[in-house]
């Protein structure tokens, strides 16, 4: 494996980890959001801090997506849509699967 391939493998792993972390945190937080806002349960003590954590994780996911997009030469629209997938519950899981197929073809 040459240096370029190693770089690409690292960026692909970075993107996968961030997509899964951001997706999982968002799904869990969305469930709490429904519990608090729709059902009317009290806010758990970690609620605000967890949303804050998501607020800091998301930009890192954006960086990971951006780095991968430069390697795979995605269009601006595609890159933006994949970045925005990190704000929709479950969507980052689906996009990660689609990107995995693309990476398999690329490799």
């Amino acid at each position: 494996m040459n240096n370029n391939q190693m770089d690409f493998a690292k960026q692909w792993m970075f993107y996968r980890i961030m997509a899964l972390v951001v997706g999982t945190v968002l799904v869990v937080l969305s469930l709490f959001l429904v519990s608090v806002r729709v059902i009317g349960n009290p806010e758990p003590s970690f609620y605000a801090a967890a949303w804050m954590a998501h607020g800091y994780l998301f930009p890192i996911y954006v960086v990971a997506t951006f780095m991968l997009s430069t390697k795979l030469q995605w269009s601006f629209t595609k890159t933006t849509l994949i970045m925005l997938a990190g704000t929709v519950p479950l969507m980052s899981f689906f996009t990660e699967r689609r990107v995995a197929k693309e990476v398999a073809d690329f490799s």
């Binding site: 605000a48 804050m52 800091y56 930009p59 960086v63």
Partner: protein, 256 residues
């Protein structure tokens, strides 16, 4: 066209600049929202002249300090403030979530503010109480000594009222007074007939503090601005390289 001024590069710079500016504007907005008032302890009674100098702003150290003031009521200068509750502190927005809608504890009604003309001829707005039926509250006349606490004009920075309540401002009192008015207003401690005593927004002199949640959001947006800035630089560099490659390819094909 100069390789630094291709249409793609110009749009990259415009988009990058706009995105970074948007992040910084949002960071500034969160920082402004982070400024809040926090109460500190004080319950020593002071004379009114010491607390509220005429022709000057109400000092922050005077807010919430108990005092007595004597004067004559001006019945024609009443101000009715609807959409309020008896507990002033309960109307203040303290968290970001409350901005959407706040469920008030207790019935909603009006604060009744009457103007008291003091011995020196100045006017002071006095919140005499809360009622659910403002039209039934009789006008007040004669002279009286009122005990209460001074409150700042409700348009001070950092004080936000929930559910679109119209703030009680010094301007409002000035417009309703026939003589020079003091800054801020007094909340009477005891209830007048037909009225429920109002709990003031500030029970003690406030000190400026920070809402840590909004501070964290501020840094969140700054973090985003840095990331967007780095992406902008990277895209611009790539665009320049592409432009350079195109130029070299063009030169080579010319030579052939």
């Amino acid at each position: 066209m100069n390789r630094h001024f291709t249409a793609r590069l110009i749009s990259t710079h415009a988009l990058g600049l706009l995105s970074v500016l948007a992040c910084l504007v949002l960071a500034n907005w969160q920082w402004e929202r982070a400024q809040v008032y926090v109460a500190e302890n004080s319950s020593i009674q002071k004379s009114f002249s010491e607390l509220s100098p005429l022709r000057d702003y109400l000092p922050i150290s005077s807010v919430g300090v108990p005092t007595n003031v004597s004067g004559t009521w001006q019945p024609s200068e009443r101000i009715v403030l609807p959409g309020r509750i008896a507990n002033g502190a309960g109307m203040v927005i303290t968290t970001a979530e409350q901005e959407v809608a706040t469920e008030f504890v207790g019935p909603t009604g009006s604060w009744i503010l009457d103007i008291l003309e003091l011995a020196d001829g100045s006017s002071l707005g006095v919140v005499r109480g809360f009622t659910e039926n403002a039209e039934l509250v009789p006008l007040v006349t004669g002279s009286e000594t009122i005990s209460g606490v001074m409150q700042p004009s409700e348009d001070v920075p950092g004080l936000e009222l929930a559910n679109g309540i119209i703030p009680l401002t010094t301007n409002m009192i000035v417009e309703n007074s026939r003589t020079i008015a003091h800054d801020g207003y007094l909340v009477a401690n005891s209830s007048s007939p037909g009225l429920i005593a109002v709990q003031p927004i500030f029970k003690e002199p406030p000190v400026q503090g920070l809402n840590w949640r909004n501070v964290a959001y501020t840094f969140n947006w700054i973090f985003f601005a840095v990331i967007v800035g780095l992406m902008w630089v990277r895209v611009a560099k790539d665009e320049l390289q592409v432009a350079q490659l195109e130029r070299i390819t063009g030169d080579l094909s010319h030579e052939q």
